[in-house]
């Protein structure tokens, strides 16, 4: 898994690619925590190149979103497709996150 951050005016965009599994999901959560600690209110996860996510990854998405919601922020998902999208739909997590096709649409919503 690779995480590439870009700081924007109102949010931090995190481009996540590869496979998020039991061995590396914590790296995503830690990256998010670091941006939250630095004052980021909204995080946008760009997931076009995310091929795989297991329940350990879902836990991290959920935990980060709960933390941000508690401080009136949000974790926004975009580009969800394939297996990751199926997994978010099956667990009905998809309804708990703002979801957009592209980061541009996500940014425009803020």
């Amino acid at each position: 898994m690779n995480i590439e951050p870009t700081e924007l005016d109102k949010a931090v965009l995190l481009k996540v690619s590869g496979r998020m599994d039991a061995e590396n999901a914590h790296e995503f959560e830690e990256a998010c925590q670091r941006w939250i600690a630095q004052g980021a209110k909204h995080l946008i996860a760009e997931l076009d190149d995310l091929q795989y996510v297991s329940s350990m990854g879902l836990r991290c998405f959920l935990s980060v979103a709960q933390k941000l919601q508690a401080s009136s922020g949000s974790l926004i998902l975009c580009g969800l497709h394939g297996l990751p999208r199926q997994v978010f739909e099956m667990t009905r997590l998809i309804g708990l996150f703002p979801v957009f096709e592209t980061p541009e649409q996500a940014i425009a919503s803020l």
């Binding site: 039991a22 795989y52 959920l62 297996l83 099956m90």
Partner: protein, 147 residues
């Protein structure tokens, strides 16, 4: 096809080796390559449970055995010698809760049940055996609209 098996330490680092092992068996059984990531996920969820709960940390082994069933299906058995544990008895997660109330855990076993064709647990002497067949022929998940 004769069953093939692989035994490794019950820890997270073994998952990727088991993944390649099961993928080879799945390819030999003629499973649609588009289903392989789902198979990876089922295997990971089961193995991470064994790694975390079956034994004291860094102890014990887990054995994975695969056999082709024909018609593009494979049977996978995951065995450990840890404490008695049937993941199929876990309560299903409440998927109707909002973000703030949504429990963080419990989704792994739910995903496994949703993605396999059939799954059974048995206790064989001092061994837990979780046996599943894959892929499922029906709807991709229980909430799927039957239309």
């Amino acid at each position: 096809m004769e069953p093939a098996s692989l035994t490794l330490p019950a820890k997270a680092e073994s998952i990727s080796v088991f993944r390649e092992f099961v993928r080879r068996a799945a390819a030999a059984a003629g499973i649609d390559p588009g289903e392989l990531e789902k198979l990876d996920l089922v295997l990971e969820e089961i193995l991470i449970n064994v790694a975390r709960y079956a034994y004291a940390p860094d102890q014990g082994v887990v054995e994975v055995a695969c056999s082709g069933l024909g018609h593009g299906k494979v049977q996978v058995e995951v065995g450990d010698y840890g404490r008695v544990f049937n993941p199929l008895e876990l309560d299903p997660p409440d998927l109707s809760r909002g973000l703030a109330e949504r429990p963080i855990g419990g989704l792994g076993a739910f995903l496994v049940r949703s993605m396999v064709d059939s799954i059974d647990y048995r206790r064989e002497g001092n061994r837990n055996v979780l046996s599943f067949t894959f892929p499922n022929a029906g709807p991709t998940y229980p909430n799927a609209d039957p239309t």
